[in-house]
């Protein structure tokens, strides 16, 4: 069923009785050409692009819970391509371009809203760094704009400009950045993949991998063995657990990141603001809630819930940036599990086991990468060669000293 304005009107006149489930609920077949482990944004996007762009068939997505129940439903919905390093920026700009055409492409309203993102700076050194980052973005075909203090003030007059310790001196703006309705991304990809024959199998936990003579033959699941020629793993925070089934240790730790939503407020923030002096970023949802977040808790965790010190830290960041936020009440908070890699950048690569491919290490920046991650992972699965924008995301970059460390923190995952 194709969605359109006409369809909505027709259904409205006939009591909305013609809507059908957006995807099937098939039982697993005995074998597939491709198995994607992980029915989150990245896994569903991979299946979608494998079927649509790379014309592959016999594809299954295995999800241990329900699709979109992990990090694609837990993030703060921000999309942007404001990276500095060569290994990253072309990839994220590719992702940004895919976001721009996504809704037409998969015929689903994902509420892509290019409302603009600003990264504030508070010192001369930060201004220099923002200028350099903006130039790097422009050289890779993205958009960037340096705003002075008055330009920021005209956008967001309520910010704490005269903070004695961290006065706002300006911001780096990416107007094409913004927010996307995160659940709709998972649902849109799921529907698009399902329409093209992909089996989306929920409540199917991968409990083992069958590997013989260095080649993957399929996966053991809670719903029995499923054979596959190629297995692609895209399970974010559970990366280490799933890849342990193949005997692999990964260059990553799992950490919990918390996010928050305030009660609904009148329109206040029409873009995305990130604080340069503390770890705090905020936007406003279409329902009016302020959506904000901060740093990871900082210790290994698979708990999907954090602790109070970070709640306090995020609240302090918010109060320091926009004191009026102190009058808003917090409505909800939650945690998601991040696969924090050793250099803060992802891995999209083949493994030493033939037919086994890995996509992970997204730290807490995976949502914005969803379309490109799916596209380049599908490219790798279908063609066995990395996509041109993802050649740096290799397993062996650590041993070779080719880290992509945007923050320059070294092999300390909780600092990225």
């Amino acid at each position: 069923m194709r969605y359109s304005g006409f369809k909505v009107i027709a259904e409205a006149l006939t009591g909305h009785k013609g809507w059908k489930p957006a995807w099937r609920d098939p039982a697993p077949q005995a074998a597939y050409d491709y198995i994607i482990v992980g029915g989150g944004g990245h896994g569903l996007a991979t299946a979608y692009y494998l079927a649509k762009e790379f014309q592959q068939a016999r594809i299954a997505v295995l999800e241990k819970g329900w699709i979109g129940g992990g990090n694609v439903g837990r993030n703060t919905t921000i999309v942007r391509s404001n990276y500095l390093l060569d290994g990253n920026e072309p990839f994220y700009e590719f992702s940004m371009k895919l976001w721009e055409g996504l809704e037409q492409d998969f015929n689903y309203n994902a509420m892509v809203s290019q409302r603009g993102i600003i990264n504030l700076f508070h010192t001369d050194a930060q201004r220099d760094a923002a200028t350099r980052r903006g130039n790097a973005m422009i050289m890779h075909g993205a958009d960037a704009e340096l705003l002075n203090k008055e330009q920021v003030r005209s956008l967001y007059p309520f910010l704490n400009f005269e903070n004695a310790r961290f006065p706002i001196k300006g911001a780096l703006m990416q107007r094409r950045g913004g927010t996307v309705r995160h659940d709709a991304v998972a649902w849109g990809y799921a529907r698009g993949a399902d329409n093209r024959g992909v089996d989306i199998i929920q409540n199917c936990d991968v409990t083992g991998m069958r590997i013989e003579n260095g080649r993957v033959l399929g996966v053991e699941t809670s719903r029995g063995f499923i054979g596959a020629k190629k297995v692609g793993v895209a399970v974010a925070g559970s990366s280490s657990r799933v890849m342990a089934h193949a005997g692999m240790r990964l260059p990553m730790e799992s950490h919990v990141l918390q996010a928050f939503v305030s009660e609904g407020l009148k329109p206040l923030i029409d873009g995305v603001i990130t604080y340069g002096a503390g770890h705090f970023y905020v936007s406003q949802s279409d329902k009016g809630g302020l959506v904000f977040g901060g740093d990871i808790d900082g210790y290994n965790s698979y708990a999907q819930r954090g602790n109070l010190p970070v709640v306090e830290d995020v609240a302090e960041g918010g109060m320091s940036l926009m004191p009026m936020i102190g009058r808003a009440r917090l409505l909800r908070m939650w945690g998601g599990i991040m696969d924090m890699s050793m250099d803060g950048s992802p891995i999209i690569d083949k493994t030493d086991i033939e037919g086994l491919y890995f996509n992970g290490g997204w730290c807490y920046g995976g949502f914005k990468a969803t379309p490109a991650s799916g596209w380049v992972f599908a490219h790798l699965l279908a063609k066995d060669t990395p996509h041109s924008t993802a050649t740096a995301y290799r397993f062996d970059r650590f041993a070779k000293g080719l880290m992509i460390d945007e923050k320059g923190q070294g092999a300390q995952p909780n600092l990225h």
Binding site: R249, S254, Y299, P309, F398, A399, A411
Partner: protein, 95 residues
């Protein structure tokens, strides 16, 4: 989280800095043959278990001791706290 310091009693986890897996105690000998091959997994690869995890915490805003905390990564429950010094000695690391 409350970390029950062996010397100071229960302390808030906020007083501590987290380093990571306690396996980091076993730093390879940089002068030995094949040190590079051992340093790459030591520096970059982690077990990252879901469940019981032994990890290094540094009491920066306290007595500046290093602790080995055994904590469940799925519940955040802390089951054991030892001085890292004692653990390292027991495991043959230090003199």
């Amino acid at each position: 989280m409350i970390i029950n310091h062996p010397l100071l009693g229960p302390r808030d986890a906020q007083e501590f800095i987290y380093l990571g897996d306690a396996a980091l105690i076993h730093r390879p000998d940089g002068m030995a043959e094949g040190a590079l091959e051992r340093f790459i997994p030591y520096t970059y690869l982690r077990d990252n278990p879901a469940g019981s995890h032994r990890e290094l915490w540094y009491h920066e805003q306290g007595d500046r001791s290093w602790l080995v905390v055994t904590r469940n990564t799925t519940t955040h429950e802390i089951t054991a706290v030892e001085m890292a010094r004692d653990v390292a000695r027991k495991e043959g690391r230090s003199k």
